[in-house]
Symmetry: C2
Subunit: 393 residues, 2 copies
C-alpha cells in the first residue's frame, strides 16, 4: 500500500487560525473594546425571498408521492441548465446545454477538474492567489510556476511567452486582490493558451460584482476562448449560496486535447464520481435566475458594493495604493509605512480594533499588502473604516 506521497508536501495553512488566535488574545486583554472584522470571506445577508421560497417549496415536494424525485441527471436538471444558458446569453455568450454542468460549488469543481489532466503537466498560478489552486495541484505532484502579481502590473499579471505551462489559472475579479482583467488583457491570455496548447481554468466566482460594463464577466466573451478555457462559476457570492452549495462549470465542446473532448471526459468523470446536486438546491438556484430572484440577489450585491465603495473612498482619501473595491467585494491595500502584512495586522488590531487578512497569507507577492472584505453590515463597515481613517490619519 502506497499512500499519495504528495500529501506530505502540503503545508498546513495557519493563516485563519493565527488571525483568530491573535484576535482572541487581544479581546481577552481588552474585554471592553469591540473588535470589528473586515476579514470575512463569507456572505452575511440571507437568501433572497423568492429563492428561499423556491428552496422550501421543492423540499416539501420531496415529501409528496406525486412530486418526489429520486436520482437526477449528474450534469444537473434541464430547468437549471436552461436558466444558466439564458444568463450567458445576456452576456452575449451562446452555449449549448451540453456545455453546462451544475455543481455543488466552485471549490469542488476546481479540485475535481484536475482529474482530467496528467500529473506530468506544468501549472501556472498567479501569486498571490486563492490557495486552493496551488494545494490541489500539489496533491497530484504537478510542477507549479507562478505569475507574479505586483503593484507594477496592478496585480494583473500578463503572459510571459518564456514561461511554458499546460494549465493556467485566472481569477477575475480576483481573490484576494479584487483586480479585474480587461478584455484585451484576457485576450492576451487566450492567445497565449492557444499558442501553447494550454487549458485555462477561469474562476468567475466574483463576476456578479462587476459594475463597469466594459469589463468581461466570462472568459467566453473573448474570441478563441472556447478552444482553450473551462469556466467555473458559483452562486456563493452572486446569490448568498455559501451554505446552500450550487455552482456551474462550462466545458465547451470545442475544447479538445490529445484527441479527446474535455467535455466528454468531464461528463464521464461526473457520472462516475458524482451523483448530481440536491433537487431542492437546484430549484433554489433556478429561482436566482428569474427576474424577481435576480433583482433581489442584485440588491444584496449592491449592499456589499456600497460597503466596498466606502472602503475605496476612505483608502483614496488616505492616499493608500490599492486595487479592487469597485468591481469586487475585496480591497487589496499596500500596508502603510512599509509595514509587513503581519505588522499592519497587529497595528490595525491594536490601534483601530479592526481585523483584516494579511496579504502574505496568499503568497510571496502578498507580503506588504493587506486584504479587506466588503461582506460585513453597512454599519460595522462604516465604523471600521472610520477607525482605520483615524488610526492612519
Amino acid at each position: 500500500m502506497k499512500i499519495n506521497q504528495h500529501y506530505k508536501t502540503l503545508e498546513t495553512s495557519y493563516l485563519f487560525s493565527q488571525i483568530r488566535a491573535r484576535r482572541e488574545a487581544y479581546e481577552a486583554a481588552h474585554p471592553c473594546q469591540k473588535v470589528l472584522s473586515l476579514g470575512i470571506g463569507d456572505v452575511t445577508l440571507p437568501l433572497a425571498a423568492p429563492v428561499a421560497e423556491a428552496f422550501a417549496k421543492a423540499a416539501a415536494e420531496m415529501g409528496q408521492a406525486s412530486s418526489f424525485r429520486g436520482y437526477g441527471p449528474e450534469q444537473g436538471y434541464g430547468f437549471l441548465q436552461e436558466k444558466i444558458q439564458g444568463y450567458y446569453k445576456s452576456l452575449d455568450v451562446e452555449l449549448p446545454l451540453e456545455a453546462i454542468f451544475v455543481s455543488d460549488g466552485a471549490k469542488s469543481d476546481l479540485g475535481n477538474l484536475l482529474d482530467l489532466f496528467d500529473s506530468d503537466n506544468t501549472v501556472l498560478i498567479p501569486d498571490p492567489v486563492y490557495p486552493v489552486y496551488r494545494d490541489t495541484n500539489q496533491m497530484a505532484g504537478r510542477r507549479i510556476l507562478y505569475a507574479a502579481a505586483t503593484p507594477e502590473n496592478g496585480f494583473l499579471p500578463l503572459p510571459d511567452p518564456r514561461q511554458k505551462a499546460d494549465i493556467l489559472y485566472l481569477c477575475s475579479p480576483n481573490n484576494p486582490t479584487g483586480a479585474v482583467y480587461r478584455r484585451e488583457q484576457l485576450q492576451q491570455w487566450v492567445d497565449y493558451a492557444r499558442a501553447q496548447g494550454a487549458v485555462i481554468l477561469f474562476d468567475a466566482a466574483y463576476e456578479a460584482f462587476i459594475q463597469d460594463p466594459a469589463l468581461p464577466h466570462s472568459i467566453y466573451q473573448i474570441p478563441g476562448a472556447r478552444e482553450c478555457a473551462i469556466e467555473v462559476c458559483s452562486l456563493s457570492k452572486t446569490a448568498g449560496f455559501t451554505g446552500v452549495r450550487c455552482g456551474y462549470t462550462v466545458v465547451p465542446s470545442e475544447l479538445i486535447r490529445d484527441g479527446l473532448s474535455l467535455q466528454a471526459m468531464w461528463l464521464r468523470r461526473q457520472s462516475t464520481k458524482f451523483n448530481g446536486v440536491s433537487y431542492p438546491v437546484q430549484r433554489a438556484a433556478e429561482a436566482v435566475f428569474t427576474p424577481e430572484g435576480m433583482a433581489a440577489c442584485r440588491q444584496a450585491v449592491r449592499q456589499y458594493q456600497a460597503n466596498a465603495l466606502r472602503m475605496h473612498q476612505v483608502l483614496e482619501s488616505l492616499d493608500i495604493w490599492h486595487t479592487g473595491g469597485i468591481n469586487s467585494p475585496y480591497l487589496w491595500m499596500r500596508c502603510p509605512g512599509g509595514q509587513s502584512s503581519w505588522e499592519f495586522f497587529q497595528f490595525l488590531l491594536e490601534r483601530a480594533q479592526v481585523v483584516g487578512t494579511p496579504g502574505s497569507g496568499f503568497g510571496q507577492n502578498g507580503e506588504g499588502f493587506f486584504r479587506l472584505t466588503a461582506f460585513g453590515s453597512p454599519e460595522d463597515t462604516a465604523e471600521a473604516m472610520e477607525r482605520i481613517r483615524q488610526a492612519l490619519a
Copy 2:
C-alpha cells in the same frame, strides 16, 4: 498538455441504454401490453414527513437574517455528526466525531477517497460488482484484480492469500447480488487486510435492509477493522435520499499508512476540494435519525422488504437458485434453463412483459444471472412476480 490517458481505457457502459432500447422496441411493437419494471435501482417512495418538514424548515431559515448560515464545516455540522455517532452506538460501535465525515453521497466519496492512494497500487474488486469501483480505479491507472463471486461461494468471495492487493472493495449487502457477509466472513477479510497492510473500502449503502440480527451492518463491528477499513454509507436507500444527496464516511484515527493518518489526509482532501453539504440537506439528514424520522424511514424500507420477500417466495416456489431478497432490496437469480443473461432478459420481456437487469452487465461472473429489484410499488411488484411465475411454471 497531457490529458489523463487512462480515460481512453474506459469502456462506455451501454447496459441501461440497451435495456431501454429493447424495452422501447417491444412497447412500440406491442402498444396494448403493459410492461412492468423490476429493474429500478432508485427509491420510489417520498421522503418521510418529519424529514421533508425539517428540510423545508431549514430552507426557509436560510431566507431570514436571524437564522441564515453561510459556509459550514467541510466535515459536516456537529448536530448531524452526533446523530450518526448515536446510530453507530446503537450498533455497538463507538466513534469519535472526528472520524465521521458528512458527504453528498456514497458515490462521490467512493470516487474521491482514491485521491489518498498512489496510482501504483493493486485493487481487488469482487466480480460481479457496482461498476463505479472499477471505473474510478481505471481512471487512475491502478492494477485491478477480481475476486470471483460465484454460486459456489454464494456470491460472497473470501480472501485468497495468494492474491496480493492494497485496496479492497467490499459491498455488503451487495449490489447487484443482495448477498450479505456474516461476521466470521468479514473477520477473514479484516485479518487478510491487516496481514497485507491493505485498506478495505467498505460500502454499507444497503445496511438498512438487514433484518437478521446476527448479520453485521458495519465493518467496525468486526475486531481489528479500525486499523484497516474506511466505511462509506448513504441515506439514499435508508431514507430515500437519492435526490436529496447526503451520506457519511468513517475514517478511523487508527488507520495509518506510510506514517500518515488517513483521517488527517481525508480531512485535508475534503477541506481543499469540497465545501461541505448544503445546510438544509444536513437538517433533513438529522431528522432521519430522530425517533420519529427513523420510524417513518423504517416503514418505507419495510415496504421494499415486503416486495423483496414476495419475490424471494416466488423464486423459491419455482426452485430457482438465488441470493438476496431477505436482507437486501436486490435479488440475484440464476437464469432458468441455462439461458444467458440477455436471453433471459428477452424471454421475460416477451413472455411476461417484465424488465430486469442482465447480470452480465455487472461483470464476467454475472453471465447467466439476472438482477431484480424491490423498489417498485407493492401492486406492480406482485403483478410482475405473478407473470414471472406463470411464464416459468
